[in-house]
């Protein structure tokens, strides 16, 4: 629509010019992502010794993926983390947005404050977590005691350590779900709800029949964005628990990082990276189809 008609003399000049505009960014990304990916693919066929390529091992690095119980542990920890955090964030964020979607005082301040966690350095949150979840006299245990509970072994118990990293991620990303759903809710056509009310629809009915279907595309999109980011989790477990106790919070990225930069097993780490990329791409592929089909239904 905005494109110049190719019959104008102006257009011929832009034919070449447009590549000068788009080219640099495209070349940049090719150089900095496609090339490293190809390089990673290449290194995944070799064994390494002292950080140097040693010998060609074919698919052996990929074979190890199936038998390495530590890797499977990383995958399990990450999947648990992703499922629990994303589910809670979606429910809590969308629920809050529904509750607060009305005229009220202080909305701008609320929005400004909700933005803060999104930009709080995650690794700083992890270190701050060490003091928040401090088991003897930390503020969280102090509060729990004030309400008559007993101290929780946040960082020394495998289960509670997982809860701790999940809590920080929920703190950080629920506001994202909230802010985006609130923005989308406020963009919904008000007359639809008025008409439903005139027709005698209950609050639940208009939520079920109007709000939810209209919000579905945005909610799927938020889910997709959250899933993609959650699978990358690295900063918080690395800083808060160092993957421990034992391997209870050793998420996939942390395990791969250690394979590569502590044990210098670069070839195997590359193979692990590809497995993660395949898993994330599959999920994106599944959801992407879903989002597109919803958009198309809407158009028909």
């Amino acid at each position: 629509m905005a494109a110049t008609d190719s019959t104008k003399p102006q257009a011929r000049r832009t034919d070449r010019t447009k590549f000068w505009f788009l080219g640099p960014a495209v070349v940049w990304i090719l150089v900095f992502t496609i090339f490293p990916l190809l390089y990673a693919l290449y290194t995944s066929f070799f064994s390494f010794r002292f950080g140097k390529i040693n010998q060609f091992v074919g698919l052996a690095n990929f074979g190890r993926l199936f038998t390495d119980s530590n890797l499977h542990n990383g995958l399990r920890v990450t999947l648990t983390f992703v499922i629990v955090t994303v589910t809670i964030q979606m429910l809590l964020g969308f629920g809050l947005a529904l509750l607060l979607n009305r005229e009220m005082r202080g909305k701008n301040i609320l929005r400004a404050i909700m933005i803060l966690p999104l930009f709080a350095t995650p690794v700083a949150m992890g270190y701050l977590g060490i003091t928040l979840f401090y088991e003897i006299n930390g503020p969280i245990n102090e509060l729990i005691r004030a309400f008559g509970g007993s101290d929780i072994p946040w960082l020394s118990n495998p289960f509670w350590a997982q809860v701790a990293i999940i809590l920080i991620d929920i703190w950080q990303w629920t506001p994202f779900v909230f802010l985006v759903s609130l923005a989308a809710l406020q963009g919904l056509p008000a007359d639809l709800f008025e008409a439903a009310e005139v027709d005698g629809a209950s609050g639940w009915q208009s939520f079920r029949r109007i709000t939810l279907p209209l919000m579905a595309p945005v909610l799927w999109l938020i889910l997709l964005l959250r899933l993609v980011e959650a699978f990358k989790v690295f900063d918080i477990p690395t800083s808060l628990t160092l993957g421990g106790p034992g391997r209870a919070t050793e998420v996939y990225s942390l395990f791969t990082y250690r394979t590569a930069l502590r044990f210098f097993d670069h070839g195997y780490a590359a193979a692990q990276g590809f497995l993660l990329l395949i898993i994330v791409s599959l999920i994106v592929g599944l959801l992407f189809g879903r989002i597109r089909s919803i958009y198309q239904e809407e158009r028909n």
Partner: protein, 281 residues
């Protein structure tokens, strides 16, 4: 907005809002408290209110800010985030203009847009190993330059997507009028379009700065000493001296303040940015 709120409902809603705000703000408050507590007070229960329950001190701020490594890290983080954001916005604005104003085949524009967005899917840990090996080869390990390049790459989708939407909202007649006056395509872009999208441009730049400032995995993998930025230096408060809550407090504050201030400055564009343009907010 739609339904009338009864007094009980509005009290309930006010209550929920209050709890949400406390929940969001408490960690920041605690970081600040730790940074002004004497060491003994950080391990003690019942030290929540300065002056009343404990005597605050600025000594940790003074001693931390006098440490050379921390000043260096602040400088490194500033260079990395400024450099990366500038590069990213420079490349991104050009690409955004191309996607908004020119046609690339039948569905080229949509495909390019999707391709730019898809960069966010790539887990950084997949490319951190090749980057480590490449940077070692190029002798760029422990060099802020390598982090500028990488952060520019991973923030590039933001300016491309946000700004191409903004440019599409401008009428193309503006540039066409400039062409009639003899301006080139590039001049139409710099003299007509750039001034009009300036607020969005600045906001995008700020968002890219915040993301580059917060980045941890590449910073941890590619720096060892002189190029260490703030997110990596926080770890020093733990490993070399045991967990010293008061120093953790100062470092956490020093690390988190800049991106949070950036975020407040770019508020209007944040939802658009974080949803990669899908929700305008």
């Amino acid at each position: 907005m739609r339904r009338k709120t009864s007094p009980i409902q509005s009290i309930l809603i006010g209550g929920i809002m209050f709890v949400a705000l406390l929940w969001v703000l408490f960690p920041f408050y605690w970081a600040f408290l730790n940074s002004i507590k004497k060491p003994a007070d950080t391990f003690r229960a019942g030290a929540w209110i300065p002056f009343l329950q404990f005597q605050p001190t600025l000594e940790h701020w003074i001693s931390e800010l006098s440490i050379i490594e921390i000043r260096q890290a602040l400088l490194n983080s500033t260079i990395i985030s400024l450099g990366a954001a500038t590069l990213s916005v420079l490349l991104g604005t050009l690409a955004a203009y191309a996607l908004a104003r020119f046609r690339f085949g039948k569905s080229g524009n949509a495909n390019f847009t999707t391709w730019f967005i898809s960069q966010r899917i790539l887990p950084p840990v997949v490319v951190v190993i090749p980057f480590f090996l490449i940077m070692r080869q190029l002798q760029l390990l422990d060099n802020v330059f390598s982090l500028v390049l990488l952060n520019a790459t991973f923030t590039l989708p933001f300016p491309v997507i946000i700004l191409s939407q903004m440019i599409r909202e401008l009428p193309p007649e503006l540039e066409e009028a400039a062409y009639v006056d003899g301006a080139s395509v590039f001049q139409g872009f710099t003299r007509v379009v750039l001034p009009l999208i300036l607020p969005g441009l600045v906001a995008t730049w700020i968002i890219c700065m915040a993301f580059s400032w917060n980045e941890f995995l590449f910073a941890l993998s590619l720096t060892t000493k002189s190029a260490i930025p703030m997110p990596v230096i926080i770890a020093g408060a733990e490993h070399t001296r045991g967990v010293q809550f008061w120093f953790v407090g100062v470092r956490v504050m020093l690390t988190m303040l800049p991106p949070i201030v950036f975020a407040l400055l770019a508020q209007r564009y944040i939802i658009r940015g974080l949803t990669l343009g899908a929700v305008k907010g």
